[in-house]
């Protein structure tokens, strides 16, 4: 499954803002990215699939968009 990933905030220090990866579900996607970007492993990140933030494992379809949202603290 070819998935479009959009990254935000401090994640842009280690990855592009948009890129594609192969993954079958959200957990597999995060695991692939952690292998590619080890700095991601320690971060708390909200994961959104096609505009909906999910707290559970979601199966992915070809061309789905996954947004990775780290918390910001600045004010």
């Amino acid at each position: 499954m070819k998935i479009k990933v959009r990254a935000f905030g401090p994640l842009l220090d280690v990855m592009e803002s948009e890129f594609f990866v192969e993954a079958s579900d959200t957990k597999a996607l995060v695991d692939v990215l952690i292998q590619q970007f080890p700095g991601m492993a320690d971060r708390k990140i909200a994961v959104a699939v096609n505009g909906k933030i999910t707290n559970t494992l979601v199966k992915l379809q070809d061309q789905d968009t996954v947004a990775l949202l780290p918390p910001y603290s600045g004010g």
Partner: protein
């Protein structure tokens, strides 16, 4: 019906009118944090005629705040933010009430203060305050208009307001646990484009007005992201966590006692090293000065030191071999976080200190010497 020429453009605005203006006039809004986000929120809620506005902050005005915190004049540097902001807001609109809360939000004062207001606006600049605010707003069922910024991006959401299905989300639905110190990019050292909190703060103020007046489609259970570089924006639906249990105030209070005891227990504090002392450690082979700023940050730290950015500290912790580690950062906030992290990691095997006031304070001290 009250008629005030100040609000004439609201009265004549289709969909707004006297009815919405009256709702603003009878609302009580607390703005927690009078910094980059807080300033525009306060200025525009004041101008719009929100009747009773609380401003809460413990801090004083720094020169480096003025690039984005436009309510403060240069001559006010060093003064309490709540005092200066309140004075300015009263001048801007004498017909409303401004209440000063010159205190740091904590579990010991949150309940008492938040209870006095209808809507709470999260303009804080650190995760600790954000989680206290979130949890108390959940417990007290107070609508919370949240925003946070990072460099060129902002996030905005409304929590604790039920949608049509009766679901009300909160910040812990996004991030259940408070982020670790080493992933907390909360120091102003990360930099922020001055206009960003202005834009995001105005979106927050807009959401407050929409909530009060029932106008439009507020960001209830939605997280909006906004990027100043390309104007790209996303609105994401938040899913409520079924396993989230609303903590009650009693358990929050007791947890606070535990947290405080853990953090501040007298036999085990984080040593603060004053700029005047730090050079006395320079020739001690047992001591390592550790700069946890990111590699691109300026100004350079002129004393001999080891550099491990906070973002990579957990992966590189084995590179630290000195018996006594003195952590430094730009202003002393990240170094405190890093020192707590190192203390938890190394336990009593090492002495961990940090440079109070950071490199900025040290350089100012040297300049004045």
């Amino acid at each position: 019906m009250n008629w005030d020429p100040r609000y004439e453009r609201h009265y004549t605005l289709p969909g707004f009118g006297h009815v919405a203006q009256e709702k603003l006039a009878t609302s009580k809004v607390l703005v927690v944090g009078a910094g980059g986000l807080g300033c525009p929120v306060l200025q525009y809620l004041t101008a719009s005629g929100v009747g009773y506005i609380g401003v809460m902050d413990f801090d004083t005005i720094q020169l480096s705040n003025l690039q984005r915190q436009t309510i403060y004049p240069t001559a006010s540097v060093g003064q309490l933010k709540t005092k200066v902001a309140a004075e300015q807001l009263r001048l801007n609109n004498p017909s409303i009430e401004i209440i000063e809360h010159p205190a740091r939000l904590s579990k010991s004062n949150a309940g008492k203060i938040l209870q006095q207001y209808d809507i709470i606006v999260d303009c804080t600049d650190n995760f600790e305050a954000r989680y206290v605010l979130n949890d108390y707003c959940v417990v007290l069922q107070k609508p919370l208009v949240f925003a946070a910024i990072y460099q060129y991006e902002g996030q905005v959401a409304i929590f604790n307001v039920s949608d049509e299905q009766g679901t009300a989300c909160n910040y812990r639905d996004l991030f259940p646990e408070i982020p670790n110190a080493n992933e907390a990019p909360n120091c102003s050292e990360n930099g922020v484009l001055g206009v960003l909190p202005g834009i995001i703060g105005l979106i927050q103020a807009t959401e407050v007005i929409k909530l009060i007046t029932g106008l439009g489609d507020p960001l209830v259970n939605k997280l909006m992201t906004w990027n100043v570089l390309n104007y790209q924006s996303m609105i994401l639906e938040i899913t409520h966590r079924a396993d989230f249990h609303i903590p009650d105030i009693e358990s929050l209070d007791s947890q606070q006692d535990v947290d405080d005891a853990h953090r501040y227990r007298s036999e085990d504090p984080i040593d603060g090293i004053h700029p005047r002392e730090i050079e006395t450690y320079l020739h001690n082979p047992e001591v390592c000065l550790l700069d946890v700023r990111e590699l691109y940050e300026e100004p350079p730290f002129p004393l001999v030191h080891q550099g491990i950015p906070l973002s990579t500290l957990s992966q590189r912790i084995n590179e630290l071999s000195a018996r006594h580690i003195i952590v430094v950062c730009q202003s002393g906030q990240r170094s405190m976080h890093a020192a707590q992290y190192l203390k938890e990691h190394f336990g009593k095997n090492r002495r961990i200190s940090h440079l109070v006031g950071g490199i900025v304070h040290y350089l100012n001290y040297k300049k004045a010497e």
